[in-house]
Amino acid sequence: MSEVTYTPRELLAVIASRLIQDGDSVFVGTGLPLVGALLAHKSHAPQMMSIYEGGSIGPEPKVLPWSVADPLTFYKAPIILSMSSVFGHARAGYADVGFLGGAQVDMYGNINATCIGPYGKCSVRLTGSGGANDMASLCQRLIFMGLHLPERFPEKVDYITTPGFLGGPGEREKAGLIGGGPWRVISHLGLMGFDEESCRMKLLSYHPGVNPEIIQQFTGFELLVDDDVVETPKPTEEELDVLRTQVDPNHLFCF
């Protein structure tokens, strides 16, 4: 049997999809989360309910949308609601998982999508929150996907657009935030979670071809390593087949 081959983005999409369980309701952010969510829906989670900030709830997307307001997100949707209503769903308890991308994530899972450098004197102005802040403030669990580089995984983000555990244990509750906060971080090097006591980011599995030491080299803070750290299981042929033939056959996102 020949070796399964895949690209880094395909690996990201597959790992993302595995974090979604059948029956979860998932608030889907733009970018790779769109791919991960659709892959889950078309493989092991046909009963998953996706929510998009454009207003669509529970569609059965046929084709990969490129925007959270793309009409493709309405495909077979039984209902399309207003923006305040869909974020209200997250507050009310109808969103289990928030699924986001962003420019930077720090050791406490705070995410920056606003600016690189000090606010007001930034070197790069980014898009701003969009729905990211609301998703992280309100959803029960938050998944973040991003590229793993030291400047993208700094000890402290330049700007907290989207709250994680803020400065550490107890701060989320003190600020009045609800939901469990950051739950998983997916990068092209590894899958991370958060230590229950210290709220710090912790490596759960490293992707094939790297190891915890290499990942530490690409991280701007001391990355905790789980006692049971393992190698990330490779994408299966079945997962890749669904991704390549049904989710993203033209390799728009996964190239």
């Binding site: 793309d70 923006m83 606010y119």
Partner: protein, 352 residues
């Protein structure tokens, strides 16, 4: 004259204004040019409607550029292609929840405007935060207590929201005031001559915005008989009494998406945000050619078709076919969808 930011949270002014609005069934049709000239005033706060690049009133935004309106205050929830005017004096600053086109990238003029300090950011917001502020205005309440934005740096860069203690639970809540923009331009599928508006697909904040804003211009793909609006009110999202002007503007959301009617021109959008607006000089060339160099929206669409080397009709038909393809409804608005044997490739080819 008070600054737009002072009017934005002024309940009394908003109420006084609306008390004076006519409830009569007047024929409010007028050309887009006239509506923009009359209702978009220099210094107004202009709220984005639709989802910026999906059912956004882009024809009106291009016309605002053509008429060189000055010192507008943008409310970007999200903001798409309508933020280039600050380089032409058109926008003083903005309330920013999001500016970009998602996977198509950042919008270069916005980026360099903020980085250089030539575009003021009056406040950072989240989408949910602005949505609730507009909803508060619609619901007639002074503010709402939200669980968004707490603990984040957005709180530090938004002088209009407050963190307070929930009097029931004692927990921190974020108080978001009702937001009353000066002007909203909303693009819908159908409207009658009085301003009742119907939209399919995404609603986003538009009903709230129509009721919150002092001045409302409705642009529509097609004017329909008011009996149609009354017989089928179920998808109507805008009531007539808040509307000041109605403009029939087919393809008014181009090059954005109009659900069931025409799809985004994704390559064009990407080319614009990544290449043609990359530098201030390039942006000026683009504006000279596409905005100042054209008299109206349709000349602009013709120009875009010419650039692609195809007939204008063929160009818009292609976007219409893609919209039908994207819709589950096998009718589409024009009843043409059933004829189309579409494939993923048909949509995706255009997406690259």
């Amino acid at each position: 004259m008070a600054h737009a930011n002072d009017r934005l949270f002024d309940h009394e002014m908003a109420r006084e204004w609306k008390l004076k609005k006519s409830r009569a069934l007047n024929d409010k049709r007028m050309p887009l040019k006239d509506a923009v000239a009359q209702y978009v005033e220099d210094g107004d706060s202009l709220v984005e409607t639709g989802f910026a690049y999906a059912r956004g009133p882009l024809a009106a935004y291009w016309e605002i550029g053509r008429q060189k309106k000055q010192d507008l205050v943008g409310i970007y929830t999200p903001g798409g292609l309508n933020n280039i005017w600050h380089e032409f004096g058109g926008i003083e600053g903005a309330h920013v929840a999001y500016v970009g086109v998602e996977m198509r990238g950042l919008i270069a003029p916005f980026r360099r405007g903020v980085e250089a300090g030539t575009l003021k950011v009056f406040a950072e917001w989240s989408h949910g935060g602005l949505a609730l502020g507009l909803r508060a205005a619609e619901q007639g309440v002074n503010y709402v207590a939200s669980k968004s934005m707490l603990g984040s740096d957005i709180i530090n860069n938004n002088p209009f929201i407050k963190v307070a203690e929930d009097p029931w639970t004692g927990e921190p809540v974020c108080l978001i005031p009702a937001i009353y923009p000066d002007i909203a331009i909303i693009h819908v599928h159908h409207a009658d001559i009085y301003g009742n508006g119907r939209a399919w697909g995404l609603q986003v904040n538009d009903t709230a915005i129509a009721l919150a804003a002092r001045k409302v211009v409705v642009t529509c793909e097609r004017i329909v008989d008011t009996l149609d609006m009354r017989a089928n009110p179920y998808q109507n999202i805008i009531p007539w009494y808040c509307v000041d002007a109605v403009c029939e503007v087919p393809y008014g959301a181009w090059p954005g998406d109009m659900p069931l009617m025409y799809y985004f021109d994704r390559p064009l959008q990407e080319r614009v945000v990544r290449v043609e607006w990359k530098t201030p000089e390039a942006t000026k060339d683009w504006v000279d050619k596409y905005i100042y160099g054209t008299e109206n929206h349709y000349q602009m669409i013709e120009l875009a078709a010419q650039e692609e080397g195809i007939d204008t009709l063929e160009y818009v038909k292609r976007l219409e076919r893609l919209a039908c393809a994207a819709a589950y409804s096998n009718l589409g608005v024009w009843g043409t969808g059933a004829d189309i044997d579409w494939t993923y490739e048909e949509v995706a080819k255009r997406a690259i």
